[in-house]
């Protein structure tokens, strides 16, 4: 099984037993998300349980590309299970993180880890190649994620010198490594079951969404450590090496090719850290000594490490989380705090903005209707953010004293708003900008349609940037009076030519109001779901470097997506999975996930945005305009897509078109038997039918 270790670690925390699932049983899903959903389906009988139920199963899966030279495809790791963050239902959801963990797991001889049950007391899992132990975590519980990881490093390597080869075993000829264990851990937030708690690996690799930190906390699982010295078999090493160098030469950044350097969440970006310190008013990218920092095997790192050590490896929301910070150092310290305590930066940012909005309305504060112990006079200072983070992590006032406000907030922003009797009002006005499933806004959902629709029709903020770079480029060009990389019509042609099986439908990228409810946009959303479910979340091509649609370095500016992904997968595994095969697998996985949501209670009638999306004209905090391709009077241009609202009735029409395209019952949104059977999922149709949730033909 080239690319695979051949075994999935199966841990029953209740019985403290270690088992093995042969990877071959799920090999047809290829890896990552597809495998995770399939394993979840098999192991969790009642899909409607709560995320905190010990019967919830968490899967952590790699792909055959992890630990290989596939560029920006060798390090991601997919976490799945029933989440506790979304509302009103904690959907079966996913999160994903990079760094060293997934490759190290493969080197240790494992394709993934399945976690079942609940330990009686806090434990951690110590994986050293094939040797796996569930150990008491008494001295780790309570530690922040960084301290816990460093402590585990020392314990696993038995105090050996990190500057030398370290043996795994006592014999002189034992296997050895110079690498430190890769550890995934929860911080105090997860231990105290905060619904915003996440999983942290190294300084800032985070499985941020879904509240998996709290799920682990509910299972009394503090950390998983893995060190491996084994080999990953590659079907065709020469082909892999050739493919890597070809990709580098033709599509990756080249500092000598200064006319064609373009940075962003794209393949050809040079290794500039994706930090948003200082955003949106400016850039506080540190000017001190620094290096780019990349996940295993990546051709262009998206983070950095600094001479001061402040904010090491942090990117994106982890950097902008304390948006009100008065000084760069404070904002960077806040990044470290959120990683150390193990909290989801995305929701913490919007939670804080919401609290500040309520404060400015004089509803929230010391002694007010909502009694909040945060010292808002110090908003922007370090003590404020430290108290806020600790408040959420410890469910108290943030200073070590009991306080119900901490408890409210630790339950997540939506549940706090509900408790305070403000939920309906603030979702109607937009004071609480949480458009879907109790989760905060990310990209403006009425403008960036694939983002808004994809999130609502799925389980979480999609956080998939496939169509985001064109927005950044066009918007910054229009705002600065410059020119976008390419004219809109050319961009649309290049992108849509690659969007098999719907290739050629240019209107998939017409974001205009006239087109926003159309079948073309339904195809855009569909393409996006299938591509991300398979190529990114199962095969593990990283979201910040793939797909490679438009590439300024390539002839005709045509990027390598469609050609590159199957090439690398085949070089490693020998599997002849075409791009279209992968899209079909993505469709299969998407249907499996939707079946799980259906069993959890999903029905068409509940698939709605928060009220303010339908009633208020769209706007963004970070910029006054949002440019995306669209047609005006039959001509393509980049148009400003802000200032419109989602029309409810027309959105209902969109849903019908989307469900039709999926082959789902348009009345209920339930999958139909014919669709599932055509995908080889008749057993899923049977299960849905037994619950009365099979779509009608």
């Amino acid at each position: 099984m080239s690319g695979y270790a051949g075994k999935i670690l199966d841990i029953d925390l209740t019985a403290r037993k270690i088992g093995v699932i042969p990877t071959r049983k799920y090999e047809h899903w290829v890896g990552g998300h597809g495998m995770g959903s399939a394993i979840f389906w098999d192991l969790v009988e009642d899909k409607s349980i709560d995320g905190f139920d010990p019967a919830n199963v968490v899967t952590i899966l790699t792909s055959p590309l992890c630990g290989t030279l596939a560029p920006a495809a060798a390090s991601r790791c997919e976490v799945q299970g029933i989440g506790v963050q979304s509302y009103p239902i904690g959907w079966f959801t996913r999160s994903n993180f990079g760094g060293r963990f997934s490759s190290m797991l493969k080197f240790a001889g494992w394709d993934g880890i399945v976690i079942r049950g609940k330990a009686e007391k806090p434990v951690w899992i110590d994986i050293r190649n094939e040797s796996v132990e569930v150990k008491d975590a008494g001295t780790l519980w309570g530690l922040d994620t960084w301290t816990a990881q460093k402590k585990i490093w020392r314990e696993v390597m038995s105090g050996q010198d990190f500057s030398r080869w370290m043996r795994l075993g006592s014999r002189d000829d034992a296997s050895r490594t110079t690498q430190k264990p890769a550890v995934l851990a929860i911080g105090p937030a997860g231990e105290n079951l905060s619904r915003m708690a996440c999983l942290i690996h190294d300084a800032s690799n985070a499985a941020g969404q879904g509240g998996f930190g709290a799920v682990w906390g509910s299972k009394n699982l503090k950390a998983i450590s893995v060190i491996g010295t084994g080999s990953i078999k590659v079907q065709n090493p020469k082909a892999l090496m050739n493919a890597r160098l070809w990709q580098k030469k033709n599509y990756a950044y080249n500092l000598k090719d200064t006319d064609n350097i373009a940075s962003g969440t794209v393949f050809q970006s040079p290794p500039i850290p994706g930090v948003l310190w200082g955003y949106p008013t400016g850039s506080w990218r540190p000017k001190e000594g620094q290096r780019p920092q990349a996940c295993v095997g990546c051709h262009s790192g998206c983070r950095a490490r600094f001479a001061s050590g402040l904010g090491n490896e942090a990117t994106c929301y982890a950097t902008v989380f304390y948006i009100g910070a008065r000084k760069p150092e404070i904002q960077r310290k806040a990044s470290d705090l959120i990683n150390q305590y193990g909290l989801n930066a995305h929701e913490m940012l919007y939670c804080l903005l919401y609290l500040n909005s309520l404060r400015m309305k004089r509803i929230l504060g010391a002694g007010r209707d909502i009694d909040c112990p945060l010292p808002f006079k110090d908003y922007g200072k370090e003590n404020f953010v430290e108290q806020f983070v600790k408040m959420v992590a410890y469910r108290n006032d943030g200073l070590g004293n009991p306080h119900p406000f901490g408890d409210d907030i630790a339950e997540g922003t939506i549940r706090a708003a509900k408790k305070w009797g403000r939920l309906d009002e603030d979702l109607a006005s937009g004071l609480l900008p949480f458009p879907f499933w109790g989760l905060p806004v990310h990209k403006e959902p009425v403008g960036q349609l694939e983002w808004g629709y994809g999130t609502l029709l799925g389980d979480r903020d999609i956080n998939e940037h496939d169509f985001d770079w064109m927005k950044w480029d066009a918007t910054s060009a229009k705002m600065s009076g410059g020119e976008p990389m390419v004219p809109a019509e050319e961009l649309v042609r290049i992108y849509t030519d690659k969007m098999a099986p719907f290739q050629g439908d240019r209107l998939m990228l017409d974001y205009s109001a006239e087109n926003m409810y159309s079948e073309h946009i339904a195809k855009l959303v569909t393409w996006h779901r299938y591509y991300t479910r398979f190529w990114k979340q199962s095969a593990m091509f990283c979201d910040w470097r793939w797909p490679d649609f438009l590439n300024l370095r390539a002839p005709g500016k045509i990027g390598s997506t469609g050609e590159a992904e199957p090439k690398f997968l085949q070089a490693v595994t020998g599997k002849e999975i075409s791009f279209l095969d992968g899209m079909e697998l993505g469709r299969k996985i998407w249907n499996l996930d939707h079946a799980i949501w259906t069993l959890q209670g999903r029905h068409r009638d509940m698939v709605h945005f928060a009220e303010y999306i339908y009633t208020k004209k769209s706007k963004m905090v970070e910029a006054p305009v949002l440019f995306l391709p669209g047609r005006k009077n039959g001509k393509w241009d980049y148009c400003n897509m802000l200032g419109r609202r989602m029309e409810k009735e027309k959105f209902e029409g969109f849903k019908t078109r989307f469900y039709t395209l999926q082959g789902w019952d348009t009345k209920s949104g339930y999958p139909k038997r014919s669709t599932l059977e055509a995908l080889g999922l008749s057993y899923i149709a049977d299960e849905l039918e037994s619950h009365g949730k099979l779509g009608q033909a």
Partner: protein, 234 residues
């Protein structure tokens, strides 16, 4: 005759002045010409055979490295045909929680002018390979797995790598015998780590680096273009 004493009084047997000699050990001198190029090796003690210097070296920039370990993945891929960090003949050490530049180090084989590993090998399996520019190379057929070279390397982590799967030693030979790669390796060819490094933090050089300390091998490979990305240039 004491050859060392003789060189003090004259311009030297080979016409090189005394100040241009670099003493590496009590037995070995090298002569450095203009521009740092090695011109000669001489030996002070009778009966000690000279080990020819390598015609190639890797130099690295530890302030530039992005810690992706692509070099390690490429090394084990082209040499062993698998991905395995523990079998890589170049090692990246890093610590997420440490400050730049101490958070990363690149530890490549130095192809030492006075190779302790070669001298330690009791079987003559580790030699300066004359067919490949005198790279210090393990002939696996002759290696008996005694680990003497591994223990002898004075640069931790040992650059002579213990292959615990084959119970043999192996080490960087500048890809002179990389069976899983189509390119020609060795000092007159290409090196997988150099080719794959995404940021150009590894470079091949033909000149002998300064042997004392680290400065000969840990160099500045950045430049104005790197600076334009917002990174420090020395």
């Amino acid at each position: 005759m004491d050859e060392g004493k003789e060189k003090k009084s004259e311009k030297g047997r080979f016409g090189i002045s005394r100040r241009n000699f670099l003493r590496l050990s009590k037995d070995v001198f090298v002569a450095i010409g203009a521009g740092g190029a090695l011109t000669h090796i001489v030996w002070a003690k009778k009966g000690v055979a000279a080990i020819p210097v390598s015609e190639g070296y890797l130099v690295v920039d530890i302030k530039k490295c992005q810690g992706c370990v692509s070099c390690m993945l490429a090394c084990s891929l082209v040499n062993e045909g698998v991905e395995n960090l523990s079998l890589a003949r170049i090692q990246i050490l890093q610590n997420s929680f440490q400050n730049w530049p101490d958070d990363v180090s690149i530890e490549q084989c130095r192809q030492c002018v006075d190779p302790a590993c070669v001298k330690a090998c009791p079987e003559g399996a580790l030699t300066a390979d004359p067919e490949n520019g005198h790279v210090r190379r393990v002939c696996k057929e002759k290696c008996i797995g005694c680990m003497s070279c591994v223990e002898a390397c004075p640069h931790p982590p040992s650059r002579a790598v213990w292959n615990f799967q084959e119970n043999l030693a192996q080490k960087c030979d500048l890809c002179s015998h990389a069976p899983h790669w189509e390119e020609k390796g060795g000092p007159n060819g290409k090196q997988a780590c150099v080719e794959v490094c995404p940021v150009g933090a590894i470079q091949f050089v033909a000149q002998v680096p300064e042997q004392e300390g680290e400065d000969g091998y840990k160099v500045d490979l950045r430049g104005p273009a790197w600076g334009r990305l917002g990174y420090p240039v020395d």
